[in-house]
Symmetry: C2
Subunit: 192 residues, 2 copies
């Protein structure tokens, strides 16, 4: 049963977060995580290369969400509209249950340089994927790069507000608001 | 003598790059790097926590270059001028000899996910340091963030041109040109 459990990834995530919080990231083994999740280590290693990757399992879905949203944007859409589509694609990947997971992850990430490094790599991977798609569409590597940075920064800022808020607000409008405010800040500096 | 060698860091860097190129990053040990540099492993570990850090020894100087340049910018200087100071601070850290080192590092970085991850963390650390300084000065976290991203992206793009060029051009004008072109791309999208 365990082997084919459709939510093995989610169970491993919950088990890892619990154990990392209880006894520390360094001290927790893959065997303990698998046991807590009611799965075998073989199953864990079929899904993740190491304990760290369990926490970053969302990276692929985020990249897919953003790049598919860019693909779906109408031909001829202006760059700011395509960027809005990309950040919407990132935000829409999240379910409201992930808000609680995010709240647990914040102190965990702060506790480990290894996790912070992996988090920086995740952010970079998302930015590079968006940059690649925007370059394919607009054929301007600098435009693609700066827009990807603004989009990723707006997404992370909106996400931070989302998990910090005591209310269960939807994520997408928070990300849209951050995008509007980040571009307004830029416009103020580079107008004219 | 080795213990007090003023260029122990530089010798370890050259030894590490040589050995990583000859036999691969994974297969190279700290003992081999120390031996090639004519130093002891104790000296190596007094300077660096592991073999990977030898390659990223420039991070601190880059952060210091950028943040000190922001500090030195005149009070009341507009944001785009302070950003130019920051990227100038990054570029001015480099000596022309580092161009050759950079050329050797490109294929090395591409060979190892562990090095790519550390490189993403370095870029993120530089961006966060600039963001922090810009926030201190302008008291606007969004402005600070987007400007830091543009500055870091312009610096990396200028650096890439620098090491890719067959001519020994100075780095700073290349970075300034990238900054001008990245802001022009943005202005085009967000004008009005």
């Amino acid at each position: 049963m365990a082997r084919w459990d459709p939510d093995a990834r989610g169970r491993l995530l919950r088990a890892a977060i619990e154990l990392f919080a209880e006894q520390g990231y360094e001290a927790t083994t893959t065997a303990q995580i698998a046991e807590r999740a009611g799965l075998t280590r073989t199953t864990l290693f079929r899904l993740f290369s190491d304990k760290r990757e369990i926490l970053f399992q969302g990276q692929g879905a985020l990249i897919a969400g953003a790049t598919e949203a860019i693909h779906r944007a109408p031909a001829g859409a202006p760059a700011d509209e395509v960027l809005t589509a990309a950040v919407t694609g990132l935000a829409d990947v999240h379910t409201s249950e992930q808000r609680e997971t995010g709240q647990l992850l914040v102190p965990l990430m702060a506790s480990s340089p290894e996790l912070q490094e992996r988090a920086a790599f995740k952010r970079d991977a998302i930015a590079r994927a968006i940059e690649h798609e925007l370059f394919e569409r607009f054929d301007d590597r600098r435009l693609a790069g700066v827009l990807a940075d603004i989009g990723v920064r707006s997404y992370y800022a909106g996400y931070a507000s989302w998990i910090a808020s005591p209310d269960d607000l939807p994520l997408t409008p928070l990300v849209h608001q951050e995008l509007a405010e980040h571009t307004a800040a830029l416009r103020h500096v580079f107008a004219g």
